[in-house]
């Protein structure tokens, strides 16, 4: 995907990331954050959560992966996310994105990002600034 291929208003291909317990355990191992709210549904419920939740910084990583999937080789300059509601482990969230601005001089695009939970409600929203070849 080159800058010339992108237009304001384009949608990124939607992704359905794997947030199974196995994947979340893998992430938590990489980030050394093995806490019950992330790896134990029952323990998370005792904390008042709907179940084990995906770490916020993992949701950021899922969005970054969506951008790279759309544009391999792209360079993410900034990624800014607001965590609205938890994403529960072993559910089926969807990541979507759309191009909201383009900068011809810097060959950069701005992207709106959203992760929606199973109920279609917004769990994470944010923006990214991405540099393309």
């Amino acid at each position: 995907m080159r800058y010339e291929d992108v237009e304001l208003g384009d949608d990124l291909p939607e992704t359905e990331p794997d947030v199974s317990m196995a994947r979340v355990l893998q992430f938590c191992g990489s980030a050394k954050m093995n806490f019950p709210r992330f790896n134990d549904h029952e323990a998370a419920r005792k904390e008042g959560l709907p179940g084990a939740i995906v770490p916020g910084i993992m949701s950021q990583g899922l969005l970054a992966s969506m951008i790279h999937h759309w544009a391999p080789g792209a360079r993410i300059v900034k990624l800014d996310t607001v965590f609205r509601t938890p994403i529960v482990v072993d559910t089926h969230p969807r990541c979507v994105g759309a191009i909201t601005d383009t900068d011809d001089e810097q060959r950069r695009v701005e992207v709106d990002l959203t992760i929606m939970n199973d109920a279609g409600n917004t769990s994470v929203l944010g923006t990214a600034l991405v540099e393309l070849d």
């Binding site: 992704t15 990331p17 794997d18 994947r23 979340v24 893998q26 992430f27 191992g29 990489s30 980030a31 050394k32 954050m33 093995n34 806490f35 019950p36 709210r37 992330f38 770490p55 916020g56 910084i57 993992m58 950021q60 990583g61 899922l62 970054a64 992966s65 790279h68 999937h69 391999p72 080789g73 360079r75 993410i76 300059v77 900034k78 990624l79 800014d80 996310t81 607001v82 965590f83 944010g126």
Partner: protein, 184 residues
């Protein structure tokens, strides 16, 4: 100033900064924060006194195997992040968001609200991070504000960490919005 060897291979003494929130370690347990404020807290005064206050410098080592596990767990397919033999092998762009300072708040910072949740992070990437590097993260309080939402009355404290590599070049800036519940 942190010893150059301290916290290498660890994220805040082995705990991830989100883990601090998850355990409520800094919210309810032993904390660098000062005593609870008597009566309603003047957020504007706290903001005047603490925003811009630099209070921590911590070092973190970047491990290639963890970089790979992180990228794979995030569903990454770009070989820059998934292939250790790639000539441009680097950490996933928001990788430094996991690193936390030794203290969530500066010594003497008033205890605002209770509990703590990660309300979001902004990561600005200045240059790629590579396996084997040791990064230095310097912390400051960047902003403080209150608002109400579905969760009730909340106090937001923005902890900014600026990371640089061994050459002193900035590699990323991470703003972490920590949400605490105001005492009603």
């Amino acid at each position: 100033m942190a010893n150059a060897e301290s916290n290498v291979d660890n994220n805040v003494e082995g705990q991830n900064v989100e883990g601090q929130n998850a355990d409520g370690q800094n919210a309810e347990g032993p904390s660098a924060e000062g005593p609870s404020a008597e009566g309603p807290v003047d957020i504007d005064a706290v903001k005047r006194d603490w925003v811009g206050h630099k209070f921590d410098s911590t070092q973190f080592r970047v491990h290639g195997d963890r970089m790979l596990a992180w990228a794979e767990a995030c569903g990454e397919t770009d070989p820059r992040f998934t292939d250790a033999d790639h000539p441009d092998f680097q950490a996933h762009p928001t990788y430094t968001a996991q690193f936390g300072a030794k203290q969530l708040f500066p010594k003497g910072f008033p205890k605002l609200g209770r509990g703590g949740f990660d309300a979001g992070k902004a990561v600005e990437v200045h240059q790629p991070v590579h396996a084997g590097e040791t990064l230095t993260g310097e912390s400051e309080i960047h902003d403080i504000y209150t608002k109400t939402g579905r969760s009730g009355t909340m106090i937001f404290i923005v902890h900014r960490m600026t990371f640089s590599n061994e050459a002193g070049e900035p590699v990323s800036t991470v703003d972490w919005r920590i949400m605490r519940s105001a005492k009603d």
